[in-house]
């Protein structure tokens, strides 16, 4: 499965690049990522949530990098879901903003894990990546993932529907994790 998406962030390329290059920031806006932990200068360990309480984990390494311009990575070892990605940072014509172009490739395997992962990405994986990039832009431009009363769960809102009514949350709903 190949996915591409792009967004434009109204911040300098150095800042946008630096936020992404600190890979531990990725789970703040990518819905399916639980954790990314740096294990070396170019190596990292990734954990993605999957259905039925099963996590998918893999190691990754940065295989190509031009500071301020490009980061390319791929999974290593026996990843459950072998994957690779590239993100390019391109100055936008306005002289202020930075275009962020992302390309991902997933090798979805057969068997139970493959089925679970495919289902997890849902029917519209492009939508998922678009929404991830929207949250990336929100975090860089506004400092946070934006929450509304109908969609209060931030990046946990993996699907935009069904939503709860647009009314204030009860204490129980708040305790469930909105606003954190």
């Amino acid at each position: 499965m190949e996915l591409t998406a792009a967004t434009t962030v109204r911040r300098a390329g150095t800042e946008v690049y630096a936020f992404w290059r600190d890979l531990q920031n990725l789970p703040t806006f990518m819905a399916h990522l639980e954790q990314v932990r740096a294990t070396g200068d170019r190596t990292s360990h990734w954990v993605a949530g999957a259905p039925f309480g099963r996590d998918v984990e893999w190691d990754a390494e940065i295989v190509d990098e031009v500071p301020g311009e490009k980061i390319a990575w791929r999974s290593t070892g026996n990843a459950d879901v072998p994957n690779a990605g590239t993100v390019r940072f391109v100055p936008a014509p306005d002289g202020v903003s930075t275009e962020v172009h992302v390309a991902l490739v997933y090798d979805i395997p057969g068997g139970a894990v493959g089925k679970a992962v495919a289902k997890y990405f849902g029917e519209e994986p492009h939508q998922q990546l678009d929404d991830d990039l929207r949250r990336f832009k929100q975090v860089l431009e506004t400092g946070e993932v934006v929450r509304s009363d109908g969609a209060p769960w931030g990046k946990r809102a993996r699907k935009e529907f069904p939503q709860r009514p647009a009314q204030p949350l009860s204490d129980a709903e708040l305790a469930e994790g909105a606003g954190q």
Binding site: T8, R10, D94, S97, Q127, D130, D131, R134, K137, Q138, E141, T142, G143, E144, V146, R147, S148, D149, G150, A151, P152, A157, E160, F161, Q163, R164, P165, A166, Q167, P168, L169, S170, D171, L174, A178, G179
Partner: protein, 391 residues
């Protein structure tokens, strides 16, 4: 708290709900002192705007007192105790749209941007109490509201102007003003405004403030036309006369130089067969609008004129007079109002007495009577023009 909520098609209900809480660091909680029912609320209640849910808190015109601010709101922008008018589009102040003062197109404030994108091609800003398409934000027809990006939107009122003098800075006054401003009015211009509801009335007043030679009000409700006439505008009742012929008469055969559509998707029309055509198509969802005012504005406008659209449209329409638009060099301009851009300058105009926003208020009701308010406003009973609700 008490809040007026959407309870299904053509039904609103005042219910007890939890008080709002801070969800993002830049939120504020406002204790509402005055709120209003807007014509565009009727499109939500009528069921013409998709993605409403049972229990959604209605309302996007509100003001009140700040009772709590999040940790990300700088103290020099907003503090507890400030008296504020809250603009209906939620804007982050940091994206390219906000930098260009296109606040209603904010790129960050709609968490449901993916849905809006499917409907509109690109997403639009979050709006209070205005469907999940525009974010699923609880509205302001309530005792309290959560206001995101509170350091960007709310306008502090530091003088002793009454709520009724400043409340409409939240939407309908800037919306009417933007409708006139988009016309690039010159002193010799005749401006025709379709719709003498609250937004139409303010578009008329704004056209005059911006220097129009003559302002024409088009509607079918005698009480609305009387209100426009009392403010110095020329009434045209489309039930009594052929609008295009009357406009030609009033402009020496040229047609109005500038036309403003302050009606939107639920236009009514004197010609039964055209009205029936649109009603049927809208009912079976094969067009989402009844764009009669827009069609008539385009057909009536003088060649080379401007048609400015501030009435709300939601989706798709047909029988758009593209031939008239293209062949006669018309300019079509439109937008949900970029309220934040207009609040301060319009506050000054109110202070100087150039515009009197209170002239359109016909009803003042307690919040608990909101359903009755929707009823008389929608059905144009009891000469209802604009209702202010008091929580």
């Amino acid at each position: 708290m008490r809040a007026n909520t959407w309870a299904g098609r053509n039904k609103v209900e005042v219910r007890d709900l939890p008080d709002p809480k801070i969800l993002n660091k830049r939120d504020a909680i406002v204790g509402i002192t005055s709120t209003a029912i807007c014509g565009s609320d009727l499109h939500l209640v009528d069921g013409y705007v998709p993605t409403m849910q049972d229990g959604d808190v209605m309302g996007h015109e509100f003001m009140g007192e700040v009772i709590e601010v999040g940790s990300g709101v700088p103290a020099d922008t907003l503090r507890v105790g400030d008296r504020v008018v809250v603009p209906f589009p939620i804007a982050c102040g940091a994206c390219a749209a906000c930098a260009a003062e296109l606040y209603s197109c904010c790129e960050n404030s709609n968490p449901n941007a993916g849905i809006a994108e499917k409907m509109f091609g690109h997403p639009v800003a979050g709006i209070f109490g205005y469907s999940h398409l525009t974010g699923g934000f609880a509205g302001g027809q309530a005792q309290y509201a959560r206001v995101p990006f509170a350091d960007v939107g709310p306008l502090k009122i530091e003088s002793d102007l009454t709520d009724e003098q400043v409340l409409f800075l939240s939407d309908i006054l800037p919306t009417g003003y933007m409708g006139a401003e988009m016309c690039d009015i010159r002193p010799s211009d005749v401006v025709a405004v379709w719709g003498a509801g609250p937004v139409g009335q303010f578009a008329m007043d704004s056209a005059r403030v911006l220097g129009a030679a003559k302002v024409i009000a088009i509607d079918r409700e005698p009480y609305r036309l009387r209100m426009a006439e009392q403010a110095g505008h020329i009434p045209v009742n489309f039930d009594d006369v052929d609008v295009r012929l009357r406009l030609l008469e009033l402009t020496g055969g040229r047609g109005p130089d500038r036309c403003i559509d302050a009606v939107g998707m639920e236009a009514t029309h004197g010609s039964a067969h055209i009205a029936a055509y649109d009603r049927i198509k809208q009912a079976v969802r094969s067009e989402t609008e009844r764009p009669h005012a827009l069609r008539q504005a385009i057909m009536s406008c003088r060649s080379g004129g401007v048609v400015s659209v501030i009435g709300v449209y939601g989706g798709f329409l047909d029988k758009f007079p593209a031939g008239a638009w293209m062949n006669r060099s018309l300019t079509l301009r439109t937008g949900q109002c970029h309220v934040q851009r207009y609040m301060k300058p319009l506050l000054r105009r109110i202070e100087r007495g150039e515009i009197d926003p209170t002239r359109i208020i016909t009803h003042r009701l307690p919040l608990d009577e909101a359903p009755h308010g929707y009823d008389i406003f929608k059905n144009k009973q009891d000469n209802c023009e604009k209702i202010v609700l008091k929580p």
